[in-house]
């Protein structure tokens, strides 16, 4: 499990470029920050009100006023800045984020995302996710390829209530990297320990395959 999450977030980290301003969703996406190479600088935004988010502080140095949107203790880097929620969402919705990384319950070949509600079961609420998907220049979905029960999460069409319509740009799982194009999904990379056949079996959505299919570890 940890290995899967590490593989996904390590791969996503490679999408980010020097100078990018990025919001990482709660849960697995936060791990992306651990894999940014030392020679580039990525500025992390936290929707509860700051840019320049740094890693968890050493034990005993946590500050209750300095937490990320998932209530985990974090730090502020030199050059960071705090602000209120109106400015935080002006940044998010206003196109000032280069990318956001979000988890998924379902994602589909039109770039739709569902991650905030399972009717009758789980209704955590959308928090900032709908604004992030609408506002960020690039929306990257970090998700296990299938549910715990082995059901595909990448579908021809989401059946759960949507978080965003047609906003997803890239889907990264432990098995594959898909780009969402106007013509559906394009399989760009597969994991070193899988095959196109396995990816096809575990993906409910149709997809085309890039001429030069790359392998990732």
């Amino acid at each position: 499990m940890t290995e899967m999450r590490e593989r996904i977030t390590r791969r996503i980290a490679r999408e980010l470029e020097d100078g990018d301003v990025v919001n990482l969703g709660i849960g697995m996406p936060t791990m992306v920050a651990d894999f940014i190479p030392d020679d580039i600088r990525v500025i992390f935004q936290s929707e509860n009100g700051f840019v320049g988010m740094g890693p968890r502080p050493p034990k005993g140095e946590e500050d209750p006023d300095l937490v990320n949107a998932g209530s985990e203790p974090v730090t502020i880097k030199t050059g960071g800045a705090f602000f209120d929620s109106t400015l935080s969402f002006a940044i998010i919705r206003g196109g000032h984020l280069d990318a956001t990384v979000l988890g998924a319950l379902q994602v589909d070949e039109q770039g739709n995302l569902a991650n905030w509600k399972i009717p009758g079961k789980l209704v955590p609420g959308m928090g900032g996710a709908m604004d992030l998907t609408v506002g960020a220049r690039q929306v990257i979905v970090a998700t296990s390829h299938t549910t715990k029960k082995g059901q595909p999460k990448i579908l021809p069409e989401c059946t759960l209530p949507l978080t965003a319509k047609g906003e997803v740009d890239l889907i990264v799982t432990e098995l594959a990297v898909f780009r969402v194009t106007g013509q559906g999904l394009l399989l760009k990379e597969i994991a070193e320990d899988t095959t196109v056949k396995e990816v096809k079996e575990k993906t409910a959505a149709g997809f085309s395959i890039a001429p030069e299919l790359i392998t990732f570890a």
């Binding site: 300095l66 209530s71 705090f82 509600k117 789980l122 209704v123 609420g125 959308m126 506002g135 319509k165």
Partner: protein
């Protein structure tokens, strides 16, 4: 004009059926001492407007756990299991709004706007029942202003004229709800003499504030 008042005076501001805005983001920056007074006052049937309903084992969450709320207008309830239970049993009305839309609705309420147009939620269940408008070829949802009877604000420092500073991520919804309450009540970690806060650095001007909870009684 700002009044610095004691606990009993704060409690007299509360009444059954009020519409409350409460600052904070999952407990961080929430006015825990004011919430304590709210719980002690015994008022019920409240509407809460804020980011979330806190943690069920921490202070803000007790408003739900102790069943003081009949309606919440928030962006997220996942950290308080009791909110989901009361929603499913029909005891609590839950209106979920995207966080960026919610904060703009509160700002509109405080800034005298009739609403804002947001692209957030178009094509999702959030758009159902909402008024939509097309502006220059793009579709938007109309998000209407929100106001409250009382806004409960947590500041880091307050001067005696009500000028406020917030600290780190504890700022969040606090400055915006301070604009949108008919009466605005502040708890501050420290109350400093007027003049101690640089007028360039004030985050919420004192003209928004009505009451500050006196410190040092606990």
């Amino acid at each position: 004009m700002v009044k610095i008042v004691d606990k009993e005076q704060i409690k007299q501001l509360f009444a059954n059926g009020q519409r409350l805005m409460i600052g904070g983001f999952i407990e961080c920056g929430a006015p825990h001492r004011l919430i304590d007074l709210l719980l002690e006052s015994g008022v019920r049937n409240l509407t809460l407007i804020g980011n979330d309903t806190g943690f069920d084992d921490q202070k803000s969450g007790q408003l739900v756990v102790e069943r003081r709320l009949s309606r919440v207008i928030v962006s997220h309830i996942g950290t308080n299991k009791e909110t989901g239970r009361q929603m499913n049993s029909g005891d609590l009305e839950v209106e979920l709004i995207p966080q960026g839309t919610l904060v703009e609705q509160i700002r509109a309420g405080g800034a005298g706007l009739g609403g804002v147009l947001t692209p957030t939620g178009i094509g999702t269940p959030v758009a159902e029942g909402s008024r939509t408008l097309e502006v220059d070829g793009r579709e938007y949802l109309l998000a209407k202003p929100l106001r409250a009877d009382l806004a409960l604000v947590k500041a880091w420092k307050a001067d005696r004229d009500g000028n406020l500073l917030f600290r780190y991520a504890a700022r969040n919804f606090n400055p915006v709800i301070a604009m949108a309450g008919d009466r605005v009540v502040v708890e501050a970690e420290e109350i400093v003499p007027t003049g101690e806060i640089d007028p360039n650095q004030v985050m919420t001007p004192g003209i928004f504030v009505d009451y500050i909870l006196r410190n040092g009684e606990e």
